[in-house]
Amino acid sequence: MKISILKESSKTKSALILIFWLLVWQTVYTIIGKDVIVPSPMDTFVTLSQLLMTQGFYKDVSATMSRVIAGIIISFAAGLGTAIAAHLLFIVKDIMGFAVNILKSTPVMAVIIFALLWLPSGNVPIFVCFLMCYPIVYTNILTGFESLSKDYIEMSQIYRIRKRDLVRSIYIPFVAPHIKSALSLTTGLSWKTVVAAEVLASPMFSMGYNLLNAKVYLDTESLFAWIIAIVALSMAFEKIVNWILHKGKKGAYNDRSKAYI
């Protein structure tokens, strides 16, 4: 392969890399030989395209996606609220700090099993997503508040800047990047936790439920097809979120600075 081809547009490169991995998959399939462990790429894609033509697929996808969005919204609402409270009141910071540390180290599975005991199966994934994402949101935003340099605070004290200008022109623009990074971090995580919880809680309309079914009926083509769908959607979701966050020229605050004054 000529070096010149490798240096070509990244789209060609991506396509070639994809083909490479498909070949790996095909090879693994041929070597293992057991359909029930690794299905053939061809069968999987056929199954996937059949799925895409069923109405049920879209119902399940939208159910899962709404849980992801709900989980993220709740995490951010709670994360922002408690971070502000923690910044203003030390006792809140201590109390929440303890809880957040525990949550951060708790394995997802444990949370799911616990939630299954007392929540209806449709809400378990949202709850689990919230518990897993909230610590990240809280920590990031709080760090944002705390890292706001004393320098700017002193400057605002000298010039007797009004509280509302302080918030609008200093706090918000400074903390905004932290909120954005929290969002970046949690998009992927929220998908994973929601789907994992759906597999165990098996609510009727969900992508996870289909993973479970595929497993118990040993329908590995469907299993792989659903996994591909989940991964693709998760990546697309993350890309869209990142695009929204980084609209505008990189580096310069430029036009957006008007929002802060």
Binding site: D151, Y152, E154, M155, Q157, I158, Y159, R160, I161, R162, D165, S169, I170, P173, F174, A252, Y253, N254, R256, S257, Y260, I261
Partner: protein, 208 residues
Amino acid sequence: MIEVKHIYKKFKKEYIFEDFSLSFADRKVTSIIGPSGCGKTTLLRMIAGLEPYEKGQISGINQRSISYVFQEDRLLPWLNVFQNIELVLKSKFPPQEAKLKVQEVLAQLDLSEAAEMMPDELSGGMQRRVAIGRALAYDADIILFDEPFKGMDSKLKSEVLPQLAAVWEKAEKTIILVTHDVTDARKLSDEVYELSGRPLKKVETPVD
């Protein structure tokens, strides 16, 4: 008159100010010079109310507004030049008047062309001028300057110094200037004090 009376100030376990006193005449420019790290900035901060002290009193600053030009500029990186200055005027002036004042001060310091630029697009010297402009626009009674000409080459200094001097004379403000450059101090000030020795007890040499 701003009077610093018998100030005791500790830094870590040592006293850097021990029974230190000094007065600053109103509507005059007073400079404080001395080697780096001797406490000039700390003194300025104590006057501004940003730094606590163990014993003593600073009088003559109550009820009066203070502008401060920090050693590190402290411009908000996400606002442009115009907005940085405008921000501090919002609590004092109505919006239209605030905008006029900003334009005025930018003109005074030859910064009008840079009004829409962001701080990280400016040279060190220009950022300094913006910080100075902000302090001037605020129009406080007392203006404190911490190393105002840091980052300026002699050419720029020779432009800015006279601009500043003119503004000050017209405005009749009380100005306290901290710098390590004796020449600048002499050029601009009515009185120059040198700080040296540790702990600082008294001003050593009133130099003029």
